[in-house]
């Protein structure tokens, strides 16, 4: 893989230990150095009061224009509820074969579904989503293999069903 490193920029409050564990886990999967950064954005510019959510298309464009660099892939990590106009919510999105993606952990925590908090599960889900969006940046489309991280997941339970690794076919495609 030609990828030299990945930049993970957190927006809003994230526990430092959580970010370190996320980056370590992703590093183990992708064998690429992860740089953690803290980003600052006035999120009110992206807030849609009618939907009480944040516009993911605008956030993605903002990261692409002001935070992404040519030599690496950049993922913006948020903890607010994000949407795109057509959908009620999304977990993340990325430019296919691009350099930027965003992920929100807002709907990834058990508490949102009335279940006991599980930090490890949240970490697992967050890593899967970040790797999934990075996969899109590397040119991968959704995969039908049941445990491939590139399998499409529209509910949090779908994310739990899939694995955190690329299947052999996807690995080959990105020559990982």
């Amino acid at each position: 893989m030609s990828l030299q490193h990945i930049t993970l920029i957190s927006f809003g409050y994230f526990d430092n230990d959580f970010l370190i564990r996320v980056s370590e886990k992703i590093q183990q999967q992708l064998f690429v150095k992860i740089h953690i950064k803290e980003g600052h954005l006035d999120l009110s510019d992206y807030y849609d009061p009618a939907r009480r959510q944040y516009n993911a298309n605008l956030l993605l464009k903002q990261i692409e224009n002001n935070f992404a660099v040519e030599s690496s892939k950049t993922i913006g990590l948020f903890n607010v509820d994000i949407f795109i106009p057509i959908f009620t919510y999304i977990f993340g999105q990325a430019y296919l074969r691009g350099r930027t993606g965003i992920v929100s952990i807002f709907r990834l925590s058990n508490e949102r579904y009335g279940i006991d908090s599980d930090e490890n599960l949240l970490l697992e889900r967050s890593c899967k989503e970040i790797i999934h969006e990075l996969g899109h940046c590397l040119g991968l489309i959704h995969c039908h293999t049941s445990d491939c991280v590139m399998r499409s997941g529209t509910y949090v339970e779908d994310i739990d069903q899939k694995g955190s690794k690329f299947c052999p076919k996807c690995r080959n495609e990105i020559a990982l």
């Binding site: 298309n57 057509i86 959908f87 919510y89 709907r107 579904y113 039908h144 049941s146 779908d158 069903q161």
Partner: protein
């Protein structure tokens, strides 16, 4: 899906077109957009699209009018109508005019995936002809099922024959024999392979948790349930649900399960809407369900509902001929994942593995290999890298007759009951071996 499905998005809002475009591109579809009905119709004249997603409210010609024109051009076109201004009347009108379905934006990403999957299913069904249905089936995605022994060949033959059907399957076998892999192989060789294989480890969940896991819950069903949660049955729609450790399910849940398996309908916890899901069920257990039925701990009706086909996965000690292949496979697997060169295994270490009875089956062998790679010298896996001594000492406590009996049986299994090869390995003549087989009342599994 061999042929890429093509989608045309017709919407006057750029942000909607952009959002849908990236969503479908990520899903691997061929996508084009049109900002109004006129452009869409001209595209349709020159190109074929499998699915057309059209907004109703557009300047100029509206979506309903466009739908009528598309239908007059191509009767079989699948048109899904989208609108932010939903009224029952427009929905009914769209469906009357031949729309495949009707959605109100914004919608759940899952609803759209569902709609497109259903539409794709219709398209592929239309394309599928009888000759395709009767094509020779060869097993795919069974790379993780390692084994050349007669016992495993029989299992794979059964996998091949049941995968094309919709029948319920019970996979039995000791813990660690690879029952879940067999379930995966059945699913990935079935017509349901493009849809999810959803696994539920029944033994790991309490009765109330299992209920919520299987059926899902509605937003507000209980304190803290801020969003709807899909149950496993719902997630397995058009796919397969794998219920592992089915014998651990409580009698109350057995009643619920039977009802769902018979009607394929259920309600989410806290919900009042009946949900239909088209799933295939595969179960696994390491217990004797028949015995449990006789003991009254497992419902007989559920047992017969589940046990349409039974596949028994043999324990590793009954397929010791597969140990070298499995060992090689796990060495490759763990060396690759640990970024190490492939390490060879010493022949005496491999021989000792073949003598071990592996109560934990393949899982135990896998763990042993992983451990040996981690703690070994990185050049060769040797006897000292395996914690096998305890087992060898235990077996040495048996009588001489017992030892002879076990040894001959293992050799027969190793050589798939080939008498000449087994006799040669035991360094006895064929007649002696026949006499021993008679003495110990061994029976070839094939007979």
């Amino acid at each position: 899906m061999s042929k890429k499905i093509s989608i045309l998005i017709v919407d006057d809002e750029e942000s909607v077109r952009e959002s849908l475009y990236s969503w479908f591109i990520e899903d691997g579809y061929r996508v084009e957009c049109a900002e109004n009905a006129k452009i869409a119709l001209s595209k349709l004249e020159s190109q074929n699209f499998d699915i057309i997603l059209a907004d109703i409210k557009m300047p100029g010609m509206d979506g309903l009018e466009m739908l009528r024109r598309i239908k007059s051009l191509k009767k079989d076109s699948i048109v899904i109508v989208i609108t932010a201004f939903a009224t029952v009347d427009t929905a009914v009108q769209a469906l009357k005019d031949g729309a495949f379905d009707y959605v109100t934006k914004p919608f759940d990403p899952d609803d759209l995936s569902h709609l497109i999957r259903n539409a794709s299913k219709q398209i592929s069904l239309a394309h599928e002809n009888e000759s395709l249905k009767e094509r020779v089936v060869t097993l795919e995605n069974v790379e993780d099922i390692i084994g050349n022994s007669e016992a495993m060949k029989k299992v794979l033959q059964k996998v091949e024959s049941v995968s094309q059907s919709n029948s319920s399957v019970i996979i039995t076998g000791e813990s660690g024999t690879g029952k879940e892999l067999i379930a995966k192989a059945i699913h990935s060789n079935s017509p349901r392979k493009y849809f999810p294989l959803v696994s539920v480890h029944c033994g790991a969940l309490t009765e109330s948790l299992l209920e919520s896991e299987l059926f899902g819950h509605e937003k507000g069903a209980f304190t803290g349930a801020m969003y709807n949660r899909k149950g496993r049955f719902e997630m397995a729609d058009s796919g397969t649900i794998f219920l592992d450790e089915i014998a651990t399910v409580s009698v109350k849940m057995q009643v619920e399960l039977l009802r769902v398996l018979e009607s394929k309908t259920f309600m989410r916890v806290g919900g009042n809407k009946e949900i239909y899901s088209d799933f295939r069920v595969i179960c696994a257990t390491n217990r004797n369900l028949k015995q449990m039925v006789e003991d009254g701990t497992f419902r007989e009706d559920l047992y017969y509902r589940l046990n349409v086909v039974n596949i028994h996965v043999p324990p590793l000690r009954e397929r010791i001929g597969d140990i070298p292949l499995l060992t090689e496979y796990f060495i490759k697997k763990y060396c690759t994942s640990m970024n190490k060169q492939i390490i060879p295994i010493d022949s005496s270490a491999l021989k000792r593995l073949e003598e071990f009875d592996f109560p934990g089956n393949i899982r135990e062998l896998e763990n042993m290999i992983e451990r040996a790679i981690v703690i070994g010298n990185g050049k060769k896996i040797t006897l000292k890298d395996f914690p096998l001594e305890k087992n060898i000492i235990n077996s040495s406590l048996e009588s001489l007759d017992e030892q002879e009996k076990n040894h001959i049986y293992q050799i027969l299994l190793k050589y798939d009951w080939n008498i000449s090869r087994s006799a040669k390995a035991l360094q006895v003549d064929r007649v002696t071996l026949y006499n021993k087989i008679k003495k110990y009342s061994f029976k070839s599994p094939g007979k």
